[in-house]
């Protein structure tokens, strides 16, 4: 990297891994999570900018989803502190995290199959007094709120082109439609930060375009978005900021174009020797070697008998 200090409007000071943001929505410090001997997440410091689309990228096993689970309370860290809008969220249960306005979706879509699409949406709503077991018994106490959230749900469903499906069971939707439904459902609670775990995984290219459009729209409405993604082109297309994880650590961050050319990122994704020629297999072939060794071993065994 050059000696001149890189700056960016989202960043307070120099751009680099763990840099300070002008207006962070999430600030995490010393978050670690180990599984046995494996350190899955070891993030020293990271800040997620507000009202921006931030992509969290990295190779398989980099700890992105684990970090996601930790931030949203679905997993418990070994150490670490993090705050959301200034409130500490460390060791807060998942449902409380969601109530604070930090709502997530899942890599493997979790649509509630045997509920209708509309029921799925209504579950996402907050402040429904009828969700209390006692008020639930008396319909007039919750029917007004129910009407309000039904009209809101229909509005969002229309935006996601799922309105005509609203009475169908969610299990009858296609994989891509379920992704849309999950995102739409998360919007029912008017989240401040929406966290999407691989929103584009297993979605066809046409639907991907529409998903990208929806994500951009979220930002336009004032929400902050953090998403995990594998596809670099996707990331380049919509994100304002990119954070790169590898082996549990944040190894780079910056605006997409700059990050994609960062040697640390290329190393993490492609390996340090990605541009050296692997040759045309004139040398020893490990597969053939192994076969020969096995044959030799078998012959020896036979001879012994």
């Amino acid at each position: 990297m050059s000696d001149t200090m890189l700056t960016h409007p989202l960043v307070d000071g120099a751009v680099g891994p763990g840099c300070k943001k002008v207006d962070p929505i999430v600030v995490a410090d010393n978050v670690t999570r180990t599984f046995g001997g494996l350190t899955a997440v070891d993030v020293a410091h990271v800040e997620i900018p507000r009202n921006a689309i931030t992509a969290l990228i990295g190779p398989n096993g980099a700890g992105k989803t684990t970090f996601f689970n930790l931030l949203t309370g679905f997993d418990k860290p070994n150490t670490g502190q993090w705050s959301f809008e200034g409130h500490s969220l460390a060791r807060v249960p998942a449902f409380r995290v969601a109530r604070k306005g930090m709502v997530r979706t899942f890599q493997l879509t979790k649509s509630l199959g045997r509920l209708s699409v509309l029921q799925n949406m209504l579950l996402g709503a907050t402040k429904q007094p009828g969700e209390n077991i006692f008020t639930a018994l008396i319909k007039p106490l919750w029917s007004k709120r129910e009407e309000a959230i039904i009209s809101k749900a229909e509005e969002i469903l229309a935006r996601f082109k799922l309105l005509e499906k609203s009475e169908d069971y969610a299990a009858s939707l296609s994989g891509g439609q379920r992704k849309l439904l999950e995102m739409a459902r998360a919007l029912m609670s008017d989240p401040v930060l929406i966290m999407l775990d691989e929103p584009m995984a297993g979605v066809n290219p046409a639907l991907t375009q529409s998903l990208l459009g929806h994500i951009k729209e979220l930002k336009a409405e004032g929400m902050s978005v953090l998403f995990v993604e594998h596809d670099m082109h996707m990331v380049r297309h919509i994100s304002d900021w990119v954070i790169v994880m590898a082996e549990g650590k944040v190894v780079a961050e910056g605006p997409p174009d700059q990050v994609m050319n960062d040697p640390a990122v290329i190393d993490a994704y492609l390996g340090a020797h990605h541009d050296s020629d692997l040759g045309d297999m004139t040398g020893a072939n490990p597969v053939i070697d192994a076969k020969e060794a096995a044959a030799e071993h078998a012959a020896k065994k036979e001879g012994a008998i």
Binding site: F95, R114, E131, M188
Partner: protein, 326 residues
């Protein structure tokens, strides 16, 4: 073979207090399994807890009947908390293991000879239904017609039992059409998804466990009101009878558990009557009367298997709802 007698006994069974108790217990596991997705294999334990919590204070401390009912509610809520606190944070199968074991623990504890002074040990308890009979609003005499002809006391226990069944069904109906029911059904589908939407999944599961458990406890009371309390009645067979009834009628339905219990109870009596009739008429000679009592359970086992394979949604269940592999 007296077909009239056999059919009439079976028809009488449709409205018997035992059937009402079965129906109420089935509504309880309907709440657990059908709506909330909780695997409770210890409904017999809840029934035993309910029955003993009703009977023991009545006999020991002369509790009035309202206080005995209050004790049933309190003790069954405590029992549900005891089962739920350690297991509801874990995967669904842990609750299944804990409930099946604790139901057996309850049965063994109440039948130990060391507790004979309190629980009556293996012989059980009797002579506690005076308070209930005193409340009988019906004048002495015969009521009803045909197979459904009852004395005043028989009518009273039936009206009371089926009244509780109706109250429980109305409660379940009101809850399941409400947003509370929506959350609970969402938990049945995927609890992490519901958690990610800001719902306290643990609290909802606990509420469902308590509600269904209290229904089970009341079922235990209805079960013992017209007879004496016998600890041997509360084995795992009772739990699986109730599961069969629930699956027969349809797990996530209002009328399913009631109709399932009626059909089951009538079939149980009918098959017993027929097998015994055949033996008495010397048509079947290779089994004894005692063996005949066991044969119906084999038939029920086979029926349960066929049901789960060919009609998993039960009589009232929505085929569409179960046709997805989720």
């Amino acid at each position: 073979m007296d077909w009239g007698q056999i059919l009439s006994t079976a028809a009488g069974e449709l409205l018997s207090p035992v059937t009402a108790a079965y129906a109420l217990a089935a509504i309880g596991i309907g709440v657990h399994f059908g709506y909330a997705g909780l695997l409770n294999f210890g409904q017999a334990g809840f029934m035993a807890i309910g029955a003993y919590a009703f009977v023991v204070p009545t006999l020991l401390w002369d509790f009035p009947i309202w206080a005995a009912f209050l004790s049933t509610i309190l003790v069954s809520v405590l029992f549900a908390l005891l089962l739920g606190i350690p297991t509801l944070r874990l995967r669904a199968d842990y609750l299944a293991i804990v409930t099946i074991a604790s139901a057996e623990i309850v049965r063994f504890v109440v039948s130990t000879s060391g507790l004979t002074a309190i629980t009556g040990g293996a012989t059980g308890l009797s002579g506690y239904n005076g308070g209930f009979i005193d409340l009988n609003p019906f004048a002495p005499g015969r009521y009803g017609f045909g197979p459904w002809e009852f004395s005043a006391n028989q009518l009273w226990v039936r009206v009371f039992g089926w009244g509780l069944v109706i109250i429980a069904s109305v409660l379940v109906f009101l809850l399941m059409r409400s947003p509370w029911g929506r959350v609970v059904k969402g938990i049945r589908e995927d609890e992490d998804a519901v958690r990610s939407l800001g719902k306290n999944v643990y609290a909802y599961k606990m509420q469902a466990l308590i509600l269904g458990g209290v229904f089970g406890a009341f079922a235990g009371v209805i079960y013992v009101l017209p007879r004496s309390l016998q600890p041997t009645n509360y084995g795992t067979t009772l739990t699986f009878f109730i599961w069969t009834m629930l699956l027969l009628g349809g797990a996530a339905t209002i009328f399913g558990p009631i109709v399932g219990a009626m059909i089951f109870a009538a079939l149980l009596t009918l098959s017993d009557g027929i097998v015994r009739g055949l033996i008495r008429a010397d048509i079947v000679t290779f089994i004894s009367g005692t063996q005949a009592g066991q044969i119906r359970f084999m038939i029920i086992g086979a029926v349960l298997m066929l049901l789960v394979i060919f009609r998993p949604q039960g009589i009232f269940g929505n085929k569409k709802e179960l046709s997805f592999n989720v």
